[in-house]
Amino acid sequence: MLLDVRNVTKTYPGADGPIDVLAGVSFTLGAGETLALTGESGSGKSTLLHLVGGLDQPDGGEILIDGRDITGFDDGARAALRRDVVGVVFQQFNLIPSLNVGDNIAFQARLGGRPDDGWNRELAAKLGLEAQLGKYPEQLSGGQQQRVAIARTLAARPQIVLADEPTGNLDEDTAEAVLDAMLRLVDEAGAALLMVTHSQHLAARMGARLHLSHGRIAA
């Protein structure tokens, strides 16, 4: 199994005492599979995504990626995990404003020592970004920026793509187009996709769905 999340817990301090954001969550995800993570605001979806991406550490449980438990990783090892194994697509795109589109797309792959100009160009073409390569993020529309973020993630050929409300800031038509492109490319790349979404419609297009409520899996 590519991703094996076992009984993960996470608590944040709150004004009225600790808040159990995740209270023992377990699930698995295989290579090439897609999984939607749904739930109300504050249910712990993004926190779970951050833990899987090595952006944060759980208080308890295990997260195994390719059989290795990443919860014991130090800062450097988790950074390497983000460079080499997972790729994250954020809601607000989070492109690097000082780099142009072409450099943004190539950035993560080059960071991981896997530059592939041909693959970058192919991704740009498939996402309709060929004409935008020399532009800077601030010169692009929201939909274009999110496509750049997806291209950047996929250019690094991650084993797992983590997407946190990737279409949350886009209008319906643009969201549909962006999701189409992402699903198609994830499929072509043979990567696993874990996507946080509020949208039942988008969740329905994924292979499986996991509903979080109050830090637990509800269905």
């Binding site: 952006l55 800062d75 983000r82 000082s98």
Partner: protein, 798 residues
């Protein structure tokens, strides 16, 4: 509405105490350096005014002897009998433990109205002129010298520092003047038909008011220099304030929009911001004035020493709280705040009500600002070239300095941007590319601090090059001037004759130091008589001379003149120079650094003819064995050791005086550099808060926080180093302008320029160290930022 609005605006500063501190500290430091300099200037000017007021210097015509000697009482009596309304003055110095006290004796019955201490003019004359008499002096002077004299000191705050004014008979007694006076004050109203001065006393000469050396006028250039430094420091401080205000306005755009959306008129919002700025300016201005007082109090003794050394001007060594500079300090705080805030207020005035506080608005706005800056830089640097080529006088010199510095500061971001773009193009790795591009993106936020660093470094390079060039020239100069191995002083002429005879046997040469006071080319000065000896011929170099100046001097057919007199009075080689009524052609012009008065040198024989009454009491002795000669002088000749000084000792004294002269400029230099380092620290700390959204994605893509922290440190070092590279040519241009233009106008001498690469390297390392230290805290903060804070960047988006 006003209260609620002000609360909303001020709450920003409560939530951003660091920015509040930046604004406050920048303004306080700028005000402190400016008002400190103004305090020094005000104190000095008050001293000059006191001198002019109490002694009539520069206000009345004066009669003195052509040869600078004292005027016999008979000459005074003869003039009075011939109808001349003149008042005698005895003026001289007594030394108390090597500290000079100027004693001025006046005759209150004949002196023009207004001369003398205020207390004397208002009170009864009897105690002043009868019995032991009264001596007027400032309380500080009385405290310093009072115990050394058994006389009745009267405190008078309006007297010049280290000066005592008394009745002429008391002064005559204290100065052992005998039946002579130093000079005669000529009253403005004179009877018609009186005999000519040349008929009554041909050896006396009349100087009209204004012809005499006016200390305030002489020292104007020095104070202008000091003011320029104060202005530079102030500009560096205002750069900080401008940055802080600009950032605060940019970050509060949403607040402004909300305030206006809920019904606050734009005009009222502007008033509220004005009130906010007024509060800042008042608190920071008062703090700055207090700090300025401390700076001035610390520097004033050295400034007093400088003015005494360069111009012979007496300035009080202690500071008085004067309303003039306190008010000027506060005014400059308000003006500075207004200048720094003008751009931001104008932007707000033009801001459409619904214009949101865009995330990159600051950077975007800076694109057009950068263009404007580039155009400004080109215009100002062009003006600097024009001033360099065609500018004249001190105003031209300072215009050159001003346009050069401001133009270069405006051009810095453009130059750095180009260098960083080249760096990005040459980068091979993804991180390298990101680093260069990200550094370039930080430029708008850091450019003001970097401009401040550029100005501080350029001033440092410029001034240290000037001072070090001066020091090097000065050391060569005193090597040339102090060629004798041993210098001795004897008590009287007979002992002088005995020393000549002793030296003829025991030393290689005896060189008497013959000195007489004289008027030279219209300036008060000294004439030296030089013996014809290889010591002068071999060691002296000239700025301009005939083919064989020393031959002409030895033959009594010429005179040498010091550089400052030649420049001030526009005297060239070949021009005539009158000394004690005799006309000599100028056969050479020599450097005479640090000498406040005019000086000429003639041959020993002609000197003894013109001044038969002067016998030398100081001598230079040449020898190959100074220790043996010194031993012989004490053991065999019987001179007390205090009367003998070896060459090394006298050179050390000269160098000590020199070093003290430049203590003030060095101190101001260091203060400016500290202010610049502070600007960098504050900019980096302010930017650190805005950096998280830019750095979080890079962290999410696989860079550790520690590595990001390192990059922040390296970035600050890189920018400081690049700024240093730009500062070097700018500093050297500044040094050239100071040496070749400003110094000539201000002090009367031109100095050769030397380069000091090791000093520049040291300064660059110091600037990098300052930048690294400034970046250390923000970098460490970033390296230790909890992951949860970085994650908030992504969470906050919803």
């Amino acid at each position: 509405m006003m209260g609620a609005g002000l609360q909303a605006l001020l709450s920003y500063w409560r939530r951003n105490p660091l920015q509040a501190l930046t604004l406050f500290a920048g303004l306080a430091l700028a005000t402190a350096l400016w008002s400190g300099v103004q305090a020094i200037n005000a104190e000095a000017r008050a001293s000059y005014d006191a001198a002019a007021r109490t002694l009539g210097e520069g206000s009345y015509g004066q009669i003195a002897r052509r040869d600078g000697e004292a005027i016999p009482l008979e000459a005074y009596v003869a003039l009075r009998r011939a109808g001349w309304l003149v008042s005698p003055v005895i003026d001289g110095r007594v030394f108390v433990e090597d500290r000079p006290l100027r004693i001025v004796g006046i005759d209150p019955l004949t002196a023009p109205p207004g001369i003398g201490p205020v207390g004397l003019q208002e009170g009864d004359l009897a105690p002043f002129v009868t019995g032991e008499g009264q001596v007027f002096a400032t309380p500080e002077t009385i405290e310093s010298f009072g115990e050394a004299f058994d006389i009745d000191f009267v405190p008078a705050p309006d007297i010049a520092p280290d000066t005592a004014v008394t009745d002429i008979s008391v002064a005559g007694r204290l100065l052992e003047a005998g039946d002579t006076v130093t000079r005669l004050i000529v009253l403005p109203e004179q009877p018609l038909g009186r005999a000519e001065l040349s008929e009554i006393a041909p050896d006396l000469v009349l100087s009209q008011p204004g012809e005499t050396a006016d200390v305030a006028q002489l020292t104007d250039s020095f104070h202008l220099n000091l003011t320029a430094f104060g202005l530079l420091s102030f500009a560096v401080g205002i750069f900080i304030v401008n940055g802080a205000i600009g950032l605060a306005f940019e970050q509060r755009r949403q607040v402004f929009r909300t305030l206006r959306a809920v019904g606050m008129p734009l005009r009222r919002l502007m008033v509220l911001l004005g009130v906010e700025l007024f509060l800042f300016a008042t608190v920071a201005g008062l703090t700055g004035v207090a700090l300025g007082y401390l700076i001035a109090a610390a520097l004033l003794p050295d400034v007093a020493a400088t003015l005494r050394g360069l111009y012979g001007a007496e300035v009080a060594g202690t500071l008085t709280l004067r309303p003039v500079w306190m008010l000027s300090g506060l005014a400059i705080a308000f003006i500075g705040t207004g200048m720094a805030a003008a751009g931001a207020l104008y932007k707000l005035w033009r801001l459409p009500i619904l214009a949101a506080g865009q995330r990159r608005a600051w950077a975007l706005a800076s694109v057009s600002t950068a263009r404007l800056q580039a155009v400004g830089a080109v215009v100002l640097l062009g003006a600097a070239v024009a001033f360099g080529l065609y500018g004249e006088g001190l105003v031209g010199g300072f215009s050159l300095l001003g346009t050069l510095l401001v133009g270069a500061a405006l051009g810095l971001p453009v130059v750095l941007s180009v260098i960083l773009a080249i760096g990005a193009r040459l980068a091979r790795s993804a991180i390298g590319e990101w680093f260069w591009a990200d550094t370039r993106q930080q430029l708008p936020g850091l450019s003001l601090a970097l401009m401040a660093l550029l100005l501080a470094m350029a001033a440092n390079i410029g001034v240290s090059t000037m001072v070090s060039s001066f020091r090097l020239t000065f050391i060569g100069f005193i090597d040339q001037r102090l060629a004798s191995e041993v210098y001795v002083t004897v008590d009287n002429a007979a002992e002088g004759d005995r020393l000549e005879a002793f030296g003829a046997e025991r030393a290689d040469a005896v060189l008497p130091l013959l000195v007489a006071d004289a008027q030279l080319a219209g300036l008060p000065g000294q004439v030296l008589g030089a013996r014809d000896h290889g010591t002068y011929r071999d060691n002296w170099t000239f700025l301009g001379a005939t083919d064989a100046p020393w031959d002409q001097i030895a033959a009594g057919e010429g005179a040498l003149l010091n550089e400052q007199t030649a420049r001030r009075q526009e005297v060239a080689v070949g021009d005539p120079l009158t000394i004690a009524g005799e006309v000599f052609p100028v056969v050479g012009i020599y450097s005479d650094y640090g000498n406040p008065v005019a000086q000429a040198i003639i041959g020993e024989d002609v000197f003894r003819t013109l001044y038969p009454q002067i016998a030398p009491t100081r001598f230079g002795l040449r020898t190959e064995d100074p220790d043996a000669l010194i031993a012989a002088l004490t053991d065999e000749f019987g001179l007390p050791p205090a009367n003998i000084i070896d060459q090394a000792g006298i050179k050390q004294i000269s160098l000590d005086v020199f070093e003290r002269t430049f203590t003030v400029t060095t101190a101001l230099n260091i203060l400016t550099l500290i202010v610049a380092a502070f600007a960098i620290l504050m900019s980096l700390l302010t930017l650190a808060g805005m950096r998280l959204p830019q750095l979080a994605p890079v962290w999410a893509l696989g860079l550790t926080r520690a590595r990001l922290g390192w990059f922040e440190l390296v970035r600050a070092l890189l920018l400081a180093a690049l700024t240093a590279i730009v500062a070097l040519p700018l500093g050297l241009a500044l040094a050239w302008a100071l040496l070749a233009v400003v110094n000539v106008e201000a002090f009367g001498w031109k100095l050769p320029m030397y380069l000091f690469p090791l000093d520049y390297l040291r300064l660059t390392l110091l600037a990098c160290l300052a930048a690294a230290l400034a970046a250390l805290w923000p970098a460490r903060k970033l390296a230790r930022t909890p992951a949860s804070h970085l994650l908030k960047v992504f969470s906050n988006e919803r």
